[in-house]
Amino acid sequence: MELPTELLTQAHYWMRLTRALDERGAFLHKQSKIIGGYFSQIGHEAISVAAGLALGPDDVAAPMHRDLGAYLVRGLHPRRILAQFLGRATGVSRGRDANLHGMGDLSLGLIGFISHLPASTGVIAGVAHAFKLKGEPRVAMAFFGDGGASQGLAHEALNWASVFQLPMVVICENNQYAYSTPLARQMRIEHIADRAAGYGMPGVIVDGNDFCAVYEAASQAVERARAGGGPTLIECKTMRMRGHAIHDNMAYVPTELLETWARRDPIARIEALLRERGLLDDAGLAALLERIDRELDEAQAHAEASPYPDPSEVTQGVYAQ
């Protein structure tokens, strides 16, 4: 299937914005403006952008810390994200939660994740369950990784989704490492998608660095879920191209493995496709990058000008009134 021009151009913008925002965050961390942990998602742009674009405006997603693209595609503005990174009152969690955690905003169909992966997969099962009970043609999308796959909740939530035939799509980002633990220490099987058979749902394996492949698989699963066909597990094969967090030099990853995956860079691939189809040239790319840079400059200025939360509010908001 050849994807429409407009979709590819749009995806290219989001993927480039995702990477630039990621790099901007790392830069701010180097400047000690962002303190604490910082998580890079480099190499995951095709997955998060494609999965995000496969959803409709009324659908709900629960992205994780390497799904920056999904937040952006759903409409979370870089201003709010950078303010969140900087711990400001205008950040998504108003300074309550750190880095990419807790970036929830239901008006954008986004659920903030917690560090206990794959917690959001369980929550998404409940969201999908609510859609089904209300008879609404909406879909809920969960994201988890190869590490989260070893948790009991991955089993419990997928089983739940299948038993109740929920309109749910599960994106499993198999990026080979959970912190320093390689896939072979997580499981004895090669494909996490093989587990789908055990839940009685389709399991799909895609090249997670190929935007078109992820988009097609995710769109089909979303369509199927929306039509009442139940949940799908999509395993996206990719590679975590940075350490677990910014402090981690990932000396435990073989250099050849990184080199292999660097040649499969998702942005290079979509740009090659766009060039091949005559939709991108050097000047066009330079203009796009400049536009993104300006957008992020503006977002950063806004974030840096934003106040920190008022310390007198530390005990406020624990309870809803």
């Binding site: 903030g112 917690a119 809803a320």
Partner: protein, 349 residues
Amino acid sequence: MTWDANLHAGVTTLAETGNAPLEAARELTYLEAIREALRYELRRDPAVLLLGEDIGVYGGAFKVTQGLIEEFGEQRVIDTPMTELGMIYAAIGMSFQGFRPVVEMQFADFISTGFDAIVQFAATNHYRWGQPVPITIRAPGAGGLRAGPFHSQSNEAWFVHTPGLKVVAPATPADAWGLLVSAIRDPNPVIYYETKYLYRSLKGPVAGGEAGLTPIGVAALRREGEELSIITYGAMVHEAMAVAADLERAGHGIEVLDLRTLKPLDETAILATARKTGKVLIVHEANRTCGVGGEVAALIAERAFESLDGPITRVAAPDTPVPYSPPLEDAHRPDAAKIRAAAQQLLEY
């Protein structure tokens, strides 16, 4: 029994609200009061639904939900796979889409398998990104039923320690009804500890209707006295009332405060009774260390120290699992005799 009559006399808050009950007061068992509260909310609010293992077709392990699937259907009384963790996470997700799920733990003991969902996700969510989590988790807890280490636990302190949760523990049918309705309507996650021991052994008037709600965070003074305060909750309220009646015959005025809500504690009521009598005996079925009693004692020590005429004393289960064999469980569980002995000692101090 005099203590029973006394207990029920202090139960309703109809006079305070000034509203006529929507339904006539009825005599219900503690278990029936829980079921009727569920039915009341299921009828009133289409957003309310029930999740749990064996709660639908089978009517629940204790038959609390019996008849509800027939009245409300399997879309609202949902039999689930055996996954407390999945169930609570699903409830959180449903709450994000406008539902108010009530989740049944078959036993409070099994709540530990759903721990992450409660203390990490539900409890922190509103603080983190401002989205309320209006879910209620029913936890049938406590002992006295020879049910052994995994069907007898009083593990409420785990959740009392967790910011973002509310924890309630009704002792009477009226509060079983009134606190459950309040919990379901609360915009926060509420853990509702129901006492299995009282399910069928305790019957009492239940006002029902809007006037029958018990507010969360308000303790109930079950009995007034001048010499000593017993502060307690759950099944121990009834043991304390028996002790108070007994000591009254010996000429002692004993006050009994039923906490009803464990988080947030009714600090005003706790401090008022401590200042009034100057002697405080705290009783709970949960084991001693870091139990709710420790927090109540610390509160009184910090804010009513000058009123105290004796050491703040606790009667609690020892720090062991709940044993099965009757002589062992009886040795483990607080009861009227143990409370009386501690009260006597404190009176003589």
